[in-house]
Symmetry: C2
Subunit: 360 residues, 2 copies
């Protein structure tokens, strides 16, 4: 039996600009089958949570332009499970709204908050970790984050340094650390004290509301004005009028790095934030020739290590090309060495300067 | 005043497979603005002839599937100027039919026969050469071919060795020579005796019919059965029933290399058969960055010497790519080093083996 007080908030409003043009403003990464599994990242996120949380308690917070994509990809989800943000305001306002909404439905609720565009493997371990996390935050006034045991000196992630053990399997947090340089990342890895910050959180609705009130009163204040409206037909109008007035700030910066009741559960399931083309390549099945091909038939000669990310099915014939991103999406064709992928952000800026929003 | 006995036959039934997938069976090279001039190669061929031949005497011989493309690109051309082949049978049957058709309209006709997918520059010289050629074949029972003065030791073309001068500016032909190796091509160039075989011919309708009768009776015999039907409403049915039975053979092999009344007019206008991607690149206007871009907006970084041949207008963003063909045509994307373009033919075969006609 699933615990009816348990909720899940799947955040799926990001625009995935690092995967431009495969990921477009109109259909970001989480709505794509970016790993070629037959399910989009959003669908995989939903599938992963479903065994642990009652289906009707799984909520989606996203920008209102993505509502049709959620309905299309998860037709079993009802309208009142989808919270539509009228503006992009980063994770703190998103989580504050969800917490008020859930608390109105169930004051005793606990919740997991998760991104929708990451890869998680070894799902049995994931489920054990999440269930242990629920148990912990239901018994303690605690803000819990899942810390991934690092497998390599990754410089692209944030790290959490664990402090003293609090209960079995859960530690206090000593520090949050931004992306380290290669040398420091090696030290982090060797120390055994540092874990990757997964962006997956658990807490009770009560605890996160209290923490927001203490550490981010500007954000929390907006939602307190709507007390009594959440979970009612008046909620939507209230959000449309007041949400855009929230400051844009991340939950890490607004709460996690300030609160003193922050805990970390070190976990060992496989995790990748799929934040780069190279991580996508590393996590995707490859053809015999060592290329990743999404949505295309390929005749590939003397070429390896490429990613072909095609949105309309297409025949791709390639000779003599190695370690490139080839993204073809109807009105845009991008060809760029994977080693230069950090330049794509600048390219997108150039496209915006030259052509406006048309190709974003 | 244009001479009303003069006719032009523009052959435009080829499928341009060396430019696959930019050139497709459904829209071959001659129907594309392959040089980015605003006019397709077919339109340029028509424009070039129009000052010399009455408009209604310009005929088009093509496969019946291309009739809509001719109507679209040359709306001023009437239906009875388009001869539709029910099957592909190379140039000898095509020319034999055109000769019978023209002779039925005007027994005193002279005609120029020209491909539709070549580039010609210095058009004033072209016109002077063609007018001199018409004068010659109207006074002599002669099969005349235009020989281009070579500007480099090209190994991709056939050559004509000139014999003794016959009249001013026109010589007998000594030999036809296939594509030479590099060493031989250099000898040809230095000798001053060898000219490129342009595939542009002039003759009277009477002379070519006689030559066909003598040297290619199998082909000519088919059309002699239709005597009395050419230029009448019964012509179409006769062609549909009999043309497919013709053997497939080129006019060079069937007639030119055998006849003894073959002459060459050495000419000095600019000519390129646009038979390869690299010749297309050499003859196309380039961007500041040294790339050729057809039908696309380009943001091009650290890249030069590429050809972007796109059939649907598209934004192309490229980093770190040099001397490649990038052809994007709706359902096919080809990326291939220009230096490897001779491999494209094999790739097209592979595509056909794997997918059938779908992508051809």
């Amino acid at each position: 039996m699933k615990n009816n007080h348990r909720y899940c908030v799947i955040m799926c409003g990001g625009i995935g600009s690092r995967f431009w043009p495969y990921s477009r403003t109109s259909r970001p990464k989480q709505f794509l089958d970016i790993l070629g599994t037959g399910r989009t990242l959003l669908q995989m996120s939903y599938d992963r949570i479903l065994p642990m949380v009652p289906a009707e308690n799984i909520l989606f917070v996203t920008n209102e332009i993505y509502a049709p994509l959620i309905r299309e990809q998860l037709p079993e989800v009802s309208e009142d499970q989808i919270l539509l943000e009228p503006a992009r305001r980063n994770t703190a306002p998103c989580i504050a709204w969800a917490a008020h909404h859930i608390a109105a439905l169930d004051p005793e609720a606990s919740m997991i908050v998760t991104p929708s565009d990451h890869l998680i493997t070894r799902e049995t371990l994931f489920q054990e970790s999440v269930l242990a996390g629920f148990d912990f935050v239901e018994k303690n006034d605690a803000l819990l984050t899942l810390g991934i045991k690092p497998s390599r000196p990754e410089t692209g992630y944030g790290y959490i340094q664990i402090g003293e053990p609090f209960v079995n399997g859960i530690n206090r947090v000593k520090t949050f650390t931004e992306k380290p340089n290669a040398e420091l990342a090696k030290v982090f890895l060797d120390s055994g004290e540092f874990f990757w910050n997964s962006g997956i959180f658990l807490w009770s609705a009560r605890s996160i509301k209290q923490a927001l009130e203490r550490h981010a009163p500007d954000v929390e204040g907006v939602f307190q004005q709507g007390e009594g409206l959440f979970g009612t037909p008046a909620e939507r109008k209230f959000i449309e009028e007041n949400f855009p007035g929230c400051m844009s700030i991340s939950i890490d910066f607004a709460v996690m790095e300030k609160a003193d009741n922050v805990f970390v559960e070190p976990v060992e399931f496989g995790w990748n934030d799929l934040g780069t083309w190279s991580s996508m390549r590393d996590n995707s099945p490859k053809n015999r020739d060592g290329n990743v091909t999404h949505n295309c038939e390929g005749l590939i000669y003397n070429s390896t290590g490429n990613i072909f990310a095609i949105t309309d099915r297409k025949l791709v014939v390639v000779d003599g090309l190695n370690d490139y991103i080839i993204a073809d999406t109807g009105d845009v064709l991008l060809i760029c060495p994977i080693a230069e992928e950090q330049r794509i952000k600048q390219m997108v800026n150039d496209v915006k300067l030259k052509f406006g929003e048309k190709y974003l």
